[in-house]
């Protein structure tokens, strides 16, 4: 509110200015642009401009601390010659597809359970939401320890329950297990968002519809299929679109848990972009890798604006 305070001071008549200045500032055509200016500066300088730079970098042979010139689409094309990139491209879709699918199914189940009559509603909700608010980098550190090759508590429990043969899988050292571990942590961290948002959607469904369906002889399953699910479509679409873009662009979990390994089998665009762009200094190539996130972003934004928020602006 400090910014607003300063404006009042300059617009006040104490410096000999009359009420006309004050009136001017009260006009929508003046006050509106004034109020959005700070946000606009941030968006232009720190989002739009870097985006233009990303395009330039991606089309150039930029290297840290060296002058660069444009090379056209060479970065985008050269990337396909690299095993690491092809692997990353595949990983991104496998990771996002599996993680989002799990989050949808588990999220709906959890939301349905949370929507029942519960004794400790607030406490249970609080517990369910916790993974979502704790710093991901730190909680992933906890998972890293849980998947440790020597002291894995996951394996210890599995062996104790007779599900795994000792010593159990080396979670972060084997290709498919590492991907499973990364997906697990992503589902763990993203599930609360799905569950709580879907729960809000469930609460909004009028009770009368269920009563009517029940009166018509609909069982629990058909009530879910013909009443709940169709009315949940809007919320589900938003949640899935949101989650898709943020799962696709995930950095923290992979960086902490596997660093993209073993042999690039868990690299995502963000982690590979950092490695190529900063560790080896090939900024142009790194920017090109990051930009592979862009089509997904465009798709999600388009879908959101087109189908979900028809009346937004």
């Amino acid at each position: 509110m400090a910014v607003g305070g300063i404006r009042v001071a300059t617009a006040s008549p104490r410096a000999g200015l009359t009420g006309r200045v004050r009136e001017l500032f009260d006009r929508e055509g003046v006050l509106g642009p004034l109020f959005v200016t700070p946000a606009l500066i941030i968006l232009l300088l720190l989002v739009a401009y870097p985006f233009a730079m990303a395009l330039y970098f991606a089309l150039s042979n930029a290297f840290i601390g060296r002058p660069s010139h444009l090379v056209g689409l060479r970065n985008f094309i050269n990337l396909w010659d690299s095993d690491a990139f092809r692997q990353t491209f595949q990983n991104a879709f496998v990771f996002t597809g599996i993680a989002v699918a799990f989050k949808v199914v588990l999220g709906i189940s959890l939301a349905l359970l949370l929507n029942q009559q519960l004794w400790f509603k607030r406490m249970i909700r609080g517990a369910v939401l916790l993974p979502w608010v704790i710093p991901t980098a730190l909680s992933t550190l906890g998972w890293w320890w849980m998947f440790n090759s020597l002291y894995s508590v996951v394996n210890w429990t599995g062996i104790a329950l007779g599900i795994m043969d000792p010593p159990g899988p080396n979670w972060l050292g084997q290709k498919y297990y590492a991907m499973a571990a990364v997906v697990t942590v992503n589902v763990w961290r993203g599930l609360p968002f799905f569950a709580i948002t879907i729960l809000a959607g469930l609460v909004a469904i009028p009770k009368e519809l269920y009563e009517a369906a029940e009166a018509d002889g609909a069982g629990a399953v058909s009530r879910f299929w013909y009443v709940t699910l169709p009315l949940l479509k809007g919320v589900l679409a938003i949640v899935v679109l949101f989650s898709t873009i943020f799962t696709f662009s995930d950095f923290n979990i992979v960086y902490v848990l596997t660093h993209g390994g073993p042999i690039n089998s868990t690299h995502l665009f963000a982690t590979l972009a950092r490695q190529i762009g900063l560790e080896t200094g090939r900024i142009g190539e790194g920017a090109a890798i990051s930009l592979y996130l862009f089509p997904v972003l465009v798709l999600v934004v388009w879908a959101q604006l087109r189908f979900v928020r028809k009346q937004a602006y």
Binding site: F25, D26, G32, P38, P50, I134, A273
Partner: protein, 282 residues
């Protein structure tokens, strides 16, 4: 009717039982982290010990080491400073922008609204490489200000979007009455709209605080000197040394580092729930 009531009761029990796996999944990592941080090294690295319990007595050794023998407190101080500044900046800027979007008609307002919404969906990992260059040019590389300035890129759209939702639920008529009584627009914002929208402002501040406290990628890339790092990056990149991991200390760091969020969470749980749904659904 009695049979119906009993069926309801059993269904209630069943719901609780079905929730148990979800709760274990959500909470076990935290339990295990806290447990590890309290164990003696001897028990931690004993391969015959039961990892789910503390048998050889708890110890605070890892915590004292973390606080006095590492730069953990410095990182925490950095994180707090950056988080508070970025949050304050973003809430103020977001409030002004949201007010303009919700109440004022002027040239370009709808494109601005779309711009805010699109930016809201831009993941940090899309632009971090060029943004590092911008930070360089602004002369802010390797300083806390790099983060204070860049965090608003995702906080401002979030706050604006959230507050816009809240502002829209407040009837315009209240402000129109105040304006007839001689209030100017700024006064109606500060004296009428904001007091009504306090839950929204708390919510925006809370989420901005959480998002900046938890931020990792920008903090990792824009700031390299160890003594300027934020807490999350400090714990991940400075406490892990070579091949020997000090698991007790790492888990102690993860626990203490999560503490401010847990405290905020305990006090403001309902705001978190409403902000989470409002951010996505409204």
């Amino acid at each position: 009717m009695a049979g119906f009531g009993r069926r309801k009761f059993w269904w209630r029990i069943a719901s609780h039982l079905l929730l148990i796996p979800f709760l274990v999944f959500a909470l076990f990592p935290f339990y295990h982290m806290a447990l590890t941080s309290l164990k003696t090294d001897r028990e931690l690295y004993d391969r015959n010990a039961v990892p789910l319990l503390i048998r050889q007595g708890p110890t605070l050794e890892h915590y004292t080491k973390l606080l006095w023998e590492t730069a953990f407190l410095t990182w925490t101080k950095n994180s707090l400073l950056i988080t508070i500044l970025a949050t304050a900046l973003s809430v103020v800027v977001g409030t002004l922008a949201a007010y303009a979007l919700a109440r004022l008609r002027f040239f370009g307002v709808s494109s601005f609204g779309t711009g805010i919404f699109v930016t809201y969906l831009v993941p940090t990992s899309l632009l971090f490489l060029p943004l590092a260059q911008v930070v360089n040019w602004l002369g802010l590389a390797d300083s806390k200000w790099a983060l204070v300035v860049t965090y608003p890129t995702f906080l401002v759209p979030f706050c604006t979007w959230l507050l816009l939702g809240y502002f829209r639920t407040v009837p315009k008529e209240i402000e129109e009455c105040a304006m007839l009584d001689g209030c100017n627009r700024l006064q109606t914002l500060v004296r009428i709209l904001l007091p009504v929208a306090v839950p929204g402002v708390i919510c925006a501040a809370l989420f901005a605080f959480t998002l900046s406290w938890n931020e990792f990628l920008y903090a990792l890339v824009f700031v390299s000197p160890a003594e300027l790092k934020t807490m999350t990056v400090g714990v991940i990149s400075e406490l892990i040394r070579g091949d020997i991991y000090y698991w007790g200390g790492l888990m102690a760091g993860a626990c203490v580092g999560s503490l401010p969020i847990v405290i905020a969470y305990v006090f403001f749980l309902d705001y978190y729930v409403s902000g989470l749904t409002a951010g996505a659904v409204k």
